[in-house]
Homo-oligomer: 336 residues x 2
């Protein structure tokens, strides 16, 4: 299999272009089977690349004159800023010049560009944003955390199928356990959406549905694929991030509060390192937009080189396992 | 002001009756200005009370022959088990024989009993369940975490008013900052419910509305009153609980993983104690059902004596500050 052609939006994110470009170079230097296309202001990118030694045949630059910022209205920006690093990259994925695009830029613009430029595969009603969240058992896929709120039951059913294909192929989990976020574990509980969706999931033969999951059980890894409507998914994702950050911060404060506890803190530092790393969500790649005609991966706005590198390896894995093709096949079947 | 008459459901909860009754006795022995009515099987309660020394004029027993369990369908249980410790207690609040009821029993039955037996105050469209959640700045009121999902904008507006009255009177916060849970902080973001509710909150003169709050900011104490629909509130509350428990558990595991870190753990134990206590949510009282004709307080199913005691003091505070009357006055005004 040849190199996966991956656009990296060099201008998107809090630490662009410096740390974004550094991540791309590191991936190449660590043997990523990828051909990287950096989109953005050529002079700036050239200046950054000049800092490193790498196989220059593996990284090319696609010059663009515009940038989309977080202050732009997403849909409008995608439509009007035709020469932005994000729009140009998205169009390369659409035309087949690239297999994937990674961006740490405006979330709204990434989601809009995925739908409007790259486009959904046949049969896919909505393209969900599906990050992996850390649990005591490993990682669970939280689907959907995107911007299309007020989903219908048939959307959630498709999310369940797409999420299952993802976890089976990328995370190598056999028969991933699918659960729907609910406020109790009985079938008759929940809001109107959950009540209507539950029987669809229960009857679906393509997935291993294990029933409702209460939010309390999510951190325990009680399901591999956690299905929910985007508003709820967004709340879960953001609260996960905020609460983990806050608790780790409060622990640090407690440790620094006395001489005795400072010494204690020094002694547990190594053991806590792995935990902190997982909860700082710096290494488990980006969140893919599933069900599109190409691969779009959103990484956190505050991403550094590590996240970019990790997302590049994730794109290669995604591309080599043919997840998008499998999703398109499964969901277009349904239409027939 | 005379003693607050508080029913304590002696049969509800994982640690009933032993630890529930112990909490009631301790409250009395610590000088609570309360008259306690323990509802449940008289012989059992007598046996427990015999273990303690206390002012016997402060605690009475109301014998009941039935119990509502978590396996009972809530509404049906409230209607059919007329001689259960919960139903009898609720009826005492309704008739005015008691000012308040505290229960660690079936959440569904407590919520159903509050609405069906005690009843909503005039003008109150829905009675929200409003727990306090820990933040870096103290506590925020999360309203609504109850069982009535799929709320309408006018319900959320009332929640905002009730929550403000609560935080002003009970937590003594001047002009409590009210925010609505959203997936971005711009006014035009959100699902249909949030978009319709936002202008109502913005125009409301009775509250100090500060706009949207992303779930990420909740642990930072970015608002005092956090308004949301019950499904979302439930997810936030349960995730808070589950994630805090999981993280503290993982930290413990990390500390126990080596000899060096065990010593470190022993040195930071005291400093971490306060944090653990706050996040184990053992001491900040129960969650009141607001807007009823009497006071109904739900405490966690796994409550011990500390939670019962804390809820008793909370009921006294609630009763003495006249929060329910203030809510009834404010919301009935609106109707006029």
């Amino acid at each position: 299999m040849g190199d996966t052609r991956i656009v990296v939006d060099a201008m998107g994110g809090d630490y662009a272009p410096e740390w974004i470009i550094r991540g791309a170079v590191e991936a190449v230097n660590e043997g990523a089977k990828a051909h990287i296309i950096l989109t953005g202001k050529e002079a700036v990118i050239k200046g950054e690349l000049a800092k490193y030694t790498y196989d220059t045949s593996k990284i090319e630059i696609k010059n663009c004159t515009e940038e989309i910022t977080c202050h732009d209205a997403p849909v409008q920006a995608i439509r009007s800023k035709k020469d932005s690093s994000l729009t140009v990259g998205m169009n390369m994925v659409k035309s087949g010049e690239a297999d994937a695009i990674i961006s740490a830029g405006s979330s709204g613009a990434i989601l809009a560009g995925g739908q409007l430029i790259v486009g959904r595969s046949k049969g896919v009603k909505r393209s969900p944003l599906a990050p992996l969240i850390p649990t005591t058992k490993g990682y669970s896929l939280l689907i959907d955390c995107g911007a299309n709120v007020d989903a219908r039951p048939e959307h959630l059913l498709q999310f369940a199928k797409m999420g299952s294909i993802y976890m089976e192929n990328i995370e190598k989990i056999e028969k991933p356990r699918v659960a729907i976020v609910n406020i109790g574990d009985e079938e008759e509980k929940g809001n109107a959406l959950v009540k209507e969706t539950y029987p669809l999931l229960k009857e679906c033969k393509d997935i291993n549905f294990v029933g409702s999951i209460e939010a309390r059980e999510i951190p325990n890894g009680a399901a591999d694929v956690i299905v929910c409507e985007a508003f709820v998914g967004n709340v879960i994702l953001k609260l996960y991030e905020g609460l983990a950050k806050m608790l780790l911060g409060e622990i640090k404060k407690a440790v620094m509060s006395s001489f005795k506890s400072k010494i204690g803190g020094a002694l547990i530092k190594d053991s806590l390192g792995e935990l902190k790393e997982r909860f700082n969500a710096k290494t488990k790649g980006g969140a893919p937009l599933l069900g599109l005609k190409g691969l779009v991966v959103k990484i956190h706005g505050n991403s550094h080189n590590e996240e970019v590198k990790s997302a590049i390896f994730q794109c290669i894995n995604f591309s080599e396992t043919g997840v998008n093709a499998k999703i398109a096949e499964k969901l277009s079947e349904e239409q027939a």
